[in-house]
């Protein structure tokens, strides 16, 4: 018996131990990967460590290529791709995106497609169900069908093949660490996944809406008060298209008026997924304003700062193209960049392209809904969210004439969103054509195929032209139509077509010698088509005012402007606060603080304590003024008037009854409220510790896409704010800073807060963050042949057919 036990015991223990090493571990709500699979040094995480030169192979056989492709990685791991045809180039782009950012591509497409729960389990189920309810996958499927008709479709096919070549030859060792950590398999790439990444950009940039909140606000306060508190136009602002531009056409808004009936109260109004300060700056100055006599173009898109970064920098070179810029992993071609003749960049337009309609069911069975009195049968699609470690959750998505029903708590509300409903998009053409463009005419033609998300496309050419086109597929609506929930029972409430390409706002070579945009209104109210949206005015005022005063501009001036921390909102509000407050009861310390604030230059520098106090004072004032409209969530902006309107009221109408607090019997004045806000802010400021400066208070962090703290960078000491040109908030900021001088040859500088590699174990994962934080720029190595990169070469790789 003893002999049998001594034989069986080690076998059992060994078996048990190896089963333990192969079994996923459960820690709280998280499933951890099997310890053996993750830690073993042969194909676990140790294989994801990278040397200084991360690539082992220098020659890779790819039979699908027509000709060899030479790739030179420079010292920042930027690939310079030299191909002999555009098709081979697209293939190589796909290969490199996958080689450096495969997990990011996977998770971006899963996020938009509502498939995160397959990786993360229960905690992402609601997000996935929301994506399914919004019809994102169906819209992506439609997009793929449309792309098949686009001239550049073969390039998309080549791109997808390039990604899949990398995936098919990817051993377990080289699988990105996140796949190992979350213990799931790499899937083949597809055109649908590229479409889903495109949809994710639409979600970030044009899915903000506040129709339900606006409807509720109008319902509670009435039409006239609503429009008094929520006006469209800030008279101080400086729109994208200069106000001296005259419009030589009349808008056809459709004869029939829409139904303006006030609709409903919503317990769970549509919540925006992305914050208000997702914005950007771009501008171009003409040669008449620069020292060199050549135009200079600048762009810094402000997006959610993540690791891996949203952008992948690359230089692409064929017989037809020599272009440099940043691309989005998952999508072929350079999105923002320049070539030997032209440069282009983008900011978000912010016009509202998302409306909601209340569905009227024919009867309680909800089988049919009514349109113009006639019953319509909705299309139903069952969407199942697979949940890791759990059971699938299936929803029936109901598609109506207007779009998918997204809210059914009190009444059925359908979402009518441009990218879902009205795309005939060939945006993949736009970026290829821009890369190949030589002049203004090519830029004009390239933008024609771009529809969504609407963007302000800035342009400059070596020929000396500068231009700005507000480009997208903009719905034609009557004034105020689409601000509130509309009845879905009548087609008279529908969009009345789209603004023709030639009539979307545009300016070329304006007299003032520059074009610019910073997410403000596209035009002044004289533009013939009514529109509304989510606009920001302070950065554009700073920008236009600065550019107006600048002459003999040099590249360094443009760099300094991109990094400007001057806050126009503080400049507008602080003098009003100081002049309106009652200083009699102030202590000596408080008086000193006010005195110091009055000398402040309104710059949100990281080391300065003044922005901390000002922000406290401003927000406290805002809460006290709009105490009648209490909001518990981040969407408070849309229950309550915008900050510029609050400042305007304080300046123009300090006797306004809105300064009276609802909770007290006394009647407060603006002075009372400003003084109370000061006292609140002072108390809170003291509690935080008087030495707290702006960068400590703001605590900028760049999170890994899965929010793993170990793969994130925390407490980055930088200044700026959402309303300064250097628009760095806690989680958002300039995701790519680019400056291009259209000299001959073209010279350019750029940087982004991250690194070219998506691998946290790489030297190139986050290596640019310290330089970005210090405001440095790298000269972009824009060359014509591989030989020109000899001194800058890190690694050479050849893709051989």
């Amino acid at each position: 018996m003893k002999k049998i036990i001594s034989l069986i015991l080690p076998v059992l223990l060994s078996t048990g131990y190896f089963i333990f090493l192969l079994t996923p571990l459960q820690r709280g709500d998280n499933t951890l990967p099997p310890l053996g699979s993750f830690i073993n040094p042969f194909n676990g995480f140790w294989q994801n460590v990278e040397k200084k030169i991360p690539f082992e192979q220098s020659k890779i056989q790819i039979r699908d290529l027509n000709n060899p492709v030479e790739i030179i990685y420079d010292r920042r791991l930027v690939p310079h791709i030299f191909a002999q045809s555009d098709i081979d180039l697209a293939y190589a782009e796909g290969y490199l995106h996958a080689q450096n950012r495969l997990w990011q591509m996977d998770i971006s497409s899963r996020s938009a497609g509502g498939r995160l729960s397959e990786v993360f389990g229960d905690r992402t189920v609601e997000n996935d169900r929301r994506m399914r309810r919004m019809g994102i996958t169906k819209a992506a499927e439609n997009l793929v069908v449309l792309w098949k008709e686009c001239p550049s479709y073969p390039f998309l096919q080549a791109y997808v093949a390039g990604v899949n070549h990398y995936i098919n030859h990817l051993g377990k060792k080289s699988t990105p660490i996140e796949f190992k950590l979350f213990n799931y398999q790499v899937e083949p790439w597809s055109e649908l996944k590229t479409a889903l990444v495109t949809m994710s950009m639409n979600l970030v940039l044009c899915a903000r809406a506040w129709d339900m909140q606006a409807s509720m606000a109008r319902e509670s306060m009435g039409d006239s008060l609503y429009h008094l508190l929520f006006p469209d136009w800030d008279p101080r602002q400086s729109p994208v298209i200069p106000i001296d531009i005259k419009w030589d056409f009349v808008a056809d808004l459709g004869g029939q008026t829409y139904d303006t009936t006030s609709i409903g109260h919503f317990q769970e109004p549509y919540q925006n997924m992305h914050p208000a300060f997702v914005g950007s700056n771009n501008w171009a100055v003409s040669g008449a304003r620069t020292k060199s006599g050549h135009p200079i173009l600048c762009n810094d898109p402000h997006l959610n700062l993540t690791l891996p970064s949203i952008w992948y920098e690359m230089h692409v070179c064929t017989d037809e193209i020599n272009a440099y810029g940043v691309s989005i992993p998952g999508i072929p071609h350079i999105t923002i960049g320049f070539n030997e003749k032209i440069a282009w960049g983008m900011t978000n337009v912010g016009q509202d392209v998302l409306d909601f309609y209340q569905i009227e069911w024919e009867n309680d069975t909800k089988d049919n809904y009514l349109i113009d009195g006639r019953p319509q049968s909705p299309e139903k699609r069952i969407e199942c969210v697979e949940v890791k470690g759990g059971t699938s959750i299936c929803d029936t998505i109901i598609y109506t004439y207007w779009g998918p029903i997204v809210n059914e708590e009190t009444s059925a509300i359908a979402m009518h969103w441009l990218p879902n409903e009205h795309m005939s998009d060939c945006a993949i053409n736009t970026f290829l054509n821009l890369s190949e463009g030589e002049n203004f005419s090519d830029y004009w033609d390239a933008l024609r195929s771009f529809e969504s998300p609407p963007q302000n496309f800035v342009f400059a050419s070596q020929e000396g032209d500068i231009a700005m086109k507000v480009q997208g597929k903009f719905p034609v609506r009557q004034k105020n139509q689409g601000k509130f929930i509309q009845s879905g029972a009548s087609t008279s409430n529908a969009w009345r077509g789209f603004i023709p390409y030639e009539q979307t706002p545009f300016v070329k070579n304006p007299l003032r010698g520059f074009v610019s945009s910073a997410n403000q209104h596209s035009t002044d109210p004289s533009y013939p088509y009514p529109y509304h949206g989510d606009f920001q005015h302070y950065r554009s005022r700073t920008l236009n005012s600065a550019l107006d005063s600048m002459h003999s501009i040099e590249v360094e001036d443009m760099m300094n402007l991109q990094k400007s921390t001057y806050n126009q909102m503080a400049a507008d509000l602080l003098p009003l606060l100081i002049s309106n407050m009652d200083s009699t009861p102030l202590s000596e310390d408080q008086r000193m603080l006010v005195s110091e604030l009055s000398k402040w230059d309104y710059r949100y520098n990281g080391e300065s304590p003044y922005p901390v106090f000002f922000e406290k004072w401003k927000e406290s004032l805002y809460d006290l003024v709009w105490d009648e409209m209490r909001s518990e969530d981040q969407e408070g902006d849309y229950y309550r008037p915008r900050r510029w309107r609050t400042i305007e009221l304080l300046e123009m109408d300090p006797q306004s009854p809105f300064f009276d607090l609802e909770s007290t019997e006394e009647v407060e004045s603006a002075t009372d409220i400003v003084s109370m806000a000061f006292a609140d802010a002072y108390e809170s400021y003291r509690e935080m510790g008087a030495n707290l400066n702006w960068q400590q208070y703001k605590n900028v962090r760049i999170l890994h896409l899965s929010r793993i703290p170990a793969f994130s960078v925390d407490s980055i000491p930088v200044g700026g704010a959402g309303t300064t040109l250097n628009a760095i908030t806690t989680t958002h900021g300039p995701s790519w800073r680019m400056i291009v001088e259209l000299s001959n040859p073209v010279q350019a500088w750029g940087i982004y807060p991250g690194g070219q590699s998506g691998n946290p174990g790489s030297h190139y994962y986050s290596h640019m963050i310290p330089d970005w934080q210090e405001g440095k720029y790298y000269p972009l190595l824009f060359v014509k042949s591989p030989g020109d990169l000899k001194d800058q070469q890190l690694h050479e790789m050849k893709l051989i057919p």
Binding site: L7, G36, N40, F42, V49, E50, P760, G761
Partner: protein
């Protein structure tokens, strides 16, 4: 001398099998080397030494090439374990596998008799 030869053989075959096939196959190969070597109870510590060196040594080499960039981050995931701690943990997991492999090999060798 014979034991040293077996350990060297064990490391070479265990490493090659783990590297080329699967880490689990490395232990199976190790089992056969130790079983055929017939070192009795010495199989325990021979398995331990060989697999500590295979797992820990390889992890150490990988870590040095990377200047601990990744191991610092992974260590944070494991509750702020240092890179050295992570290498030791790797060696420990390999070493336990080596002991059990050696124990099983010696038990089955005894059973053969």
């Amino acid at each position: 001398m014979r034991k040293l030869t077996t350990i060297i053989l064990l490391i070479a075959i265990g490493f090659a099998a783990s590297h080329l096939l699967h880490w689990l196959v490395g232990f199976i190969a190790g089992f056969f080397v130790l079983w055929l070597g017939k070192h009795g109870k010495a199989n325990w510590w021979m398995g331990l030494v060989a697999f500590v060196l295979i797992w820990g040594g390889y992890a150490l080499v990988q870590n040095m090439a990377n200047e601990s960039i990744l191991s610092l981050q992974i260590g944070e995931l494991f509750g702020r374990v240092s890179p050295l701690g992570l290498i030791l943990l790797t060696a420990l997991l390999g070493g336990i596998g080596g002991i059990l492999t050696g124990w099983t090999a010696s038990a089955i060798s005894r059973g053969d008799k």
